[in-house]
Amino acid sequence: MSPDTVTASAAVIGTDRARARARAARNRTYLVTGSRIAVLLAVVGLWEWLARTAVIDPFNFSMPSKIWDQIRTWVVDGTAQGSLWEQIWYTLYEALLGWVIGVFAGVVLGIALGRVRFAADVLGPYIKVLNALPRIVLAPIFLIWFGLGPASKVASAVVLVFFPVFFNAFQGAREVDRDLVANSRILGASNRQVTLQVVIPSATSWIFTSLHVSFGFALIGAIVGEYIGATKGLGLLVAASQGTFNAAGVYAAMVILAIVALLAEGLLTFLEKRLFRWKPAEAGSAR
């Protein structure tokens, strides 16, 4: 065999192997996706079957087909409180507004206290006390203060969102690399420039971790607020369904909520990827 044919056959073997590996990887993806669908079908099917054969009480536990019917009715004919989109929009609006206000306040205060030692020492204990309070009990108070409209739900979302964001921003501002701060001061940065161009960028990865969790909290705040008393919203749908012993309605509202939360989470992940292009890719994750 001449050297040429040797390298040629080696190349063929190389591509064959590469192709085999690609095929194996593809097969695995199919297997995982297929198994996921199978798990979903099994759970939903089992639920339906158990409810139909009355092993579990269909009145209490409802069944997937009824939940599906309920969602369809809401989508097509609207709910007793108005169209379904309006309810979703109300809840999202309250959660988003509360989230934005809570995040803003948390980041500003967290960074400020992280930078100004004196303020942190003075306010530290009070913040700890407020954080120790189970903040969801504030929702009824907000209802009294702000009435049945969106304001009371926004307020409960804000108090739920504020603390995790605040603590993360605070920690992030505290744990900035000291050499990096020293370096920027020697390069000529003023205190303000250090805060804006060194501390805040290094704290962003801390802050972003809290953003994921806190959007969930904002939804909880809005829903609980609506559940306690409201004129519109998904929480009201849950409360109303519960009031008419409509288990399917409660589940249907939960399904809708889950979809909304997942979409919001996806959006946040997308934004994070755009913002953190400077970060090295995590080991094992494809870029």
């Binding site: 001061r185 020697i186 003023s190």
Partner: protein
Amino acid sequence: MNSETSPAIELRGASKAFRTPSGTLHTAVRDLDLTIGRGEFVAVVGPTGCGKSTTLTLVSGLEEPTEGEVLVAGEPVRGIGDKVGFVFQQDAVFPWRTVLSNVMAGPRFRGVAKPEAKERAREWLARVGLSSFEDRYPHQLSGGQRKRVALAATFVNDPEILLMDEPFSALDVQTRALMSDELLELWAGTGASVVFVTHDLEESIALADKVVVMTAGPATVKEVFEIGLPRPRKVEQVRLEPRFVEIYREIWSSLGEEVRITRERGALDVA
């Protein structure tokens, strides 16, 4: 003495004590007298943890001396001045900024307009050979390349005084030799005075005009050696000269004793 003729750096009886977390006072530097002339390259060697780095923070204005005086260009140091550049042991580059933006940071902090800052940054990037990397982020560079970014970011401010705290100690041996040569080239055109802290005696002799040996902590100046090797130097070649070996032996006899003292203390602490 006016600011034109005074030495670049003067430490007069400078001491620095820190309060440790357990509440006791730890004296890092005691009664330090050191004068560094304009355009001089001075290396400071001493046993590990003896307070070499503290000397640099005193000169930079990051820390104030507990006692004594520190003068830069004849003026007492009050806070961080604009004459000083500092290269840290870890590469203190901004990970969220591109290479170009990192080098622009100094001039931008000091209020230089963006186009001019960009131009100056590009010039220094060209000198450290990173022109084609200006859009990369630091994590996409090798350790040596990151160090070059740090050097460019420091030199772009035209410092009169360059403080370097074991800048190459995290690099592998070959990269280190290359970086040392590059540093000498970059420095040659600037007329800056350099204080280069290291624990590597070979590195210090190859680079410096004067080598200052510090005592075991609390650090103070033990002896100062004139190197007198001709410039321009190539680090790998200068190491082979007989004069280099001679000076090495001479300084090591002084430094070795302090290293031994530090080691014995360490053994006592462990016991």
